[in-house]
Symmetry: C2
Subunit: 717 residues, 2 copies
Amino acid sequence: MKNYGRLTLPTDLDVIDETIALKESLGADAIRDCDGTQMPQELLDLDAKVYATYYTTRKDNDWALAHPEEIQQEYLMTDRYTARNSTLTITLMKGFHTEQLKPNFIDDPKQWWEVIDRTTGEIVPVDQWEYDEDKGTVTIQTIPYHVYTVSFLAFLIWDPVHMYNFITNDWKDAPHQLTYDVRQPQTQAYVKEKLKKFCEANPHVDVIRFTTFFHQFTLTFDDQKREKYVEWFGYSASVSPYILRKFEKWAGYKFRPEFIVDQGYHNSLFRVPSKEFKDFIEFQQQEVCHLAKELVDIVHSYGKEAMMFLGDHWIGTEPYGPYFETIGLDAVVGSVGDGVTMRMISDIKGVKYTEGRLLPYFFPDVFCKGGDPIGEAHTNWLKARRAILRSPLDRIGYGGYLKLALQWPGFIDTIRHVIDEFRSIHDTIQGTKAYVSPFKVAILNCWGQSRRWMNNQVHHAIWYREIYSYVGIIECLSGMPIDVDFINFEDVKNGILDQYKVIINAGAQYTSWSGAENWIDEDVVTKVRQWVDQGGGFIGVGDPTAYQYQGQFFQLSDVLGVDKEIGFTLSHDKYNEVNPEHFLLEDIEDEIDFGEGMNGIYAHGDNYQILSQHHGYAQLVTNTYGKGRSVYLAGLPYSPQNCRLLLRTIYWAAGKESEMKKFYVSNVNTEVAAFEEVGKIAVINNTTESLSTDLYMHGQKVQTLNLKPMELRWVEM
Amino acid sequence: MKNYGRLTLPTDLDVIDETIALKESLGADAIRDCDGTQMPQELLDLDAKVYATYYTTRKDNDWALAHPEEIQQEYLMTDRYTARNSTLTITLMKGFHTEQLKPNFIDDPKQWWEVIDRTTGEIVPVDQWEYDEDKGTVTIQTIPYHVYTVSFLAFLIWDPVHMYNFITNDWKDAPHQLTYDVRQPQTQAYVKEKLKKFCEANPHVDVIRFTTFFHQFTLTFDDQKREKYVEWFGYSASVSPYILRKFEKWAGYKFRPEFIVDQGYHNSLFRVPSKEFKDFIEFQQQEVCHLAKELVDIVHSYGKEAMMFLGDHWIGTEPYGPYFETIGLDAVVGSVGDGVTMRMISDIKGVKYTEGRLLPYFFPDVFCKGGDPIGEAHTNWLKARRAILRSPLDRIGYGGYLKLALQWPGFIDTIRHVIDEFRSIHDTIQGTKAYVSPFKVAILNCWGQSRRWMNNQVHHAIWYREIYSYVGIIECLSGMPIDVDFINFEDVKNGILDQYKVIINAGAQYTSWSGAENWIDEDVVTKVRQWVDQGGGFIGVGDPTAYQYQGQFFQLSDVLGVDKEIGFTLSHDKYNEVNPEHFLLEDIEDEIDFGEGMNGIYAHGDNYQILSQHHGYAQLVTNTYGKGRSVYLAGLPYSPQNCRLLLRTIYWAAGKESEMKKFYVSNVNTEVAAFEEVGKIAVINNTTESLSTDLYMHGQKVQTLNLKPMELRWVEM
């Protein structure tokens, strides 16, 4: 049925008639409630699936308050305090918000807390510190002018997402929702029973949309109710003595708070993960997925579908982990911030369908004076569309207050166009896959497959100066005709490289993304060198293979043909000159945007060619190494031109230049996705300007297309 | 005698009459020859001291060729080569110039060379490699895809400075001068005898200007006769098995080539020096100073003066080392590139006088079409003059081809003004010292006093992008009313801090200048913290106290109130806001130049004030810490305004703001030097523009001065 289906709309009590009209007009086949909105009774009988947003861990303060020991806990680390004499008293909650978190004095602090002398890195013995519950302090016997921290457990007495929504939407009267720990025995039994009751009481609900399971990603507020730190991938709020005792038994070694607080870095994804943290993730996945399955089974027993929101309390589900499929979910839904986050959802295996919530969210921070919801919808769709052509979502939807969207002139027409185009893709490609390069590409970092489409991210699709020059790599790839895997250093040691023609190592020095100490692992460097020597292509971005050791900063500087000046070779002369004549730059006309770029890169050896320099240092360098090739890029933010540069870089590194134009378009602002099984080619204009582009097939130009702004043109093969 | 004396001019065979005329006109009291020029017989009877440039280590190829085993040697390290299978043959001289260096096969390579597996850092046993003298190669039994280097001894068959002058001046016929090692027994005896003969044969020579003693700083050319690496402080060309055997006996442990080649970094001053390298410097100083004294004694025995050129073969003399004074030199002469290099000469103790060779050198690379020798003379004098007011040279001079200077219109008048002003300073101050702050300041790094006025330098006064933002600190200080010491971390541990009110730690991360691992030394950090807490002032520039450890990058981030984002705390929110209202900025009107600046600096704690930000990161931050204070600066290139900013920074950090205007001028482009003993104040205009400035004494404005471009005005107290 044309112009119908694959679409979910939000609703609320104040837009009942409008929801009905819009459902018809846009062809929606599902409606949903949101945090802060309610599903009107009048809509339950519509010809549409009904999604019920379901919270397993909150919206039941009575339960939480009756079982204080089963409130969800989080490991916190105090700020660092310097002792000025032989004792030091630290106020635990200084800098945290007492309405969000409350120190746990129920479980023995001497067992579960840790005081660390950060000047030596040593644990302060428990007989050298005392806590005071009334004052909320810890007093330590100190060495003067050493620095101390206290790691301690705190109860999450205000659910972080509820707190965030409360603050963002300026809610006034809503009681603060506590978060209880569904993993613990009493709560677990209660939550299961409650879910059954909900299913029974809501026969009209078709889909239980879990928001989400048990543990919130780390989202901690400061004493001024501002975000203090946020880690979308963080496990700090997934702990409790109950869980940690189980972990100790499972792991076979003693737990330490330091495994979680990690010197105060809270295991940011940018940290090279410790063995213990990787163990903890493994353990949590097993436990979380097992328990999530039990809830999903309950949902299924009532003939309903179970959908998981990829966000909020998603910790431990790890959609690219080995246990996710065992949950038995029907669907995953998540927010589509760009191509990367689209692929993060659409590439998930083990569910019947995936759904993406497009932007903008119908919240007052965008639908306001000075806001540009139509522009945001365009930008979002341009990024999502090219990725959808490679790996389509099954459904799309929107979230927030429908009323805001209805009131904004032109907005509904904008999303109507998006929705129709989304359906046209499905109608045309008929479930077939777009053509991809005849070789595979791998992105190599410490996380590998477990962080597929999650590289260099801090918070879901949020821009940071330090990351956009790297995120561009995966944002470009998300919509490119490239079959990409994400691998880690263990995979390399286990011999995975033979599967690939090109590997990419992209990230800042000493982070998990570039790999840090893995590059002084003899097994890793020899395997990668051999693989390149025998014909592999190595692409390094930013600080690839960086680790200061034995006279080099880039440990594969022989492969890359470049190293980085970090001050020790200032006395060495560099005679680098630029030669931009190269396959990589053949249709690159504008100045290349390297983002933040990189300072200090110089080329050396006999086989390099510098294609671009800045202030005397190289930004883009090619090198040959035996039968293999390498390319160094100082950075690669997302842009249509940079997608083209990356395409050329990959084909050149693979030594497959002659095959690049099997399906190709000349204008760098356009891309092509070829669906050979249905004989159709999608040519997309990735800009909001009209333009023309030449279409190539099998290396030959076949026609010139004039495309309207943002147009997707289907061409017969 | 006014307008006479304190001046040395160069001469040559082709400018005899001109030299005589110019000597009279400029009031020179000494004349000299240079490398490439000769002293005319006609000038020996003039009423002027005659300096003879004297080379102990070269200009005697007959001797060198007759004693090949006593030619000076240098430790080289080959490039890094990756093994692709189980053997690897490395050509030793690849990338070096065979006219400059020749591998030493005379001394057993198996004893004196070292093959290192750079993938593991391990030494390859000597039975796993073989050398081939005919082919100049080493063949190694390798582990495939490991990286190897060969460290080997080579003879310096072309003196580096002679080679440099030869290439720079495009000499054609001059034979390449070999360098012989005066430390070795036969050469030592020969050189002493030769010096005696020279003294006897040259009764008209008054001053033997040693250029210099025994070991050239590291200056190595590549296979295209281009400079390959240069380290003005480098000891790589001060070695021989003869010397190294003595070193082993002295040190009590076995020598390794790695002590010298240092992974290929050749102990760049930017490296944290190893114990072994520090031992080697100590040993060389003892030996070199001892032998230099013997030569100086010979000179004295003929009634002549001995002067040392601070450059070329100066290695081991270490003018700020403990043995320098024992040489018994009459004088040191050196090139004045700026205020820093001026102080490097003028602060030397243990000589009767110091002499500075001002710029420009009369060489064709400046006295040419497009050259600006007058502008260079102005810039040089503006930088030197402010430093001379703090610590005067006794004499100045010029070098090169006098003919070039005579032919350039206006140049002689320019230097006449410089010379007269130099003499007026001496005439006025009468050997007294300018007023300095009532407290002392120390610069803290790994080198301390041994590298007084040598911080962050690669090659004598040469600009590098990576250093100018740090060199600015000492360039500013060279002309400021501040009593400055240079201290190292051992000094801190030994309790030196009590002598100071302010310490400065300035440099890039992990270099000897910021201090690297010294900042995780418990003794260092507790002593510095305590000292600040009790009232000290800590100024950090660039990456002060940087070493990634236990959750911090800046180890004294508690003292500084700032840390640096290196990717691990991207998930932590920073709410930094600027407040430029501060004593530091009271008369700073132009935008502050932080040079290369620093990315990622954020403030934290309760006591900071951010005075300047860029892209959301801090560039200038003040903090309080107990009774002490700290200031963070992202960088501080030399400029008149930055001198003022540093003056204010130091007084504020010391908590002595109220004393800053004891002698003071309002205009940041002017400075003041007060000579209380003679009742005179020098007010200098550090620009080439006219300007006015208010003079303050004891906190009160006493007059407004209108100064001409570059003017030095003497004001009565």
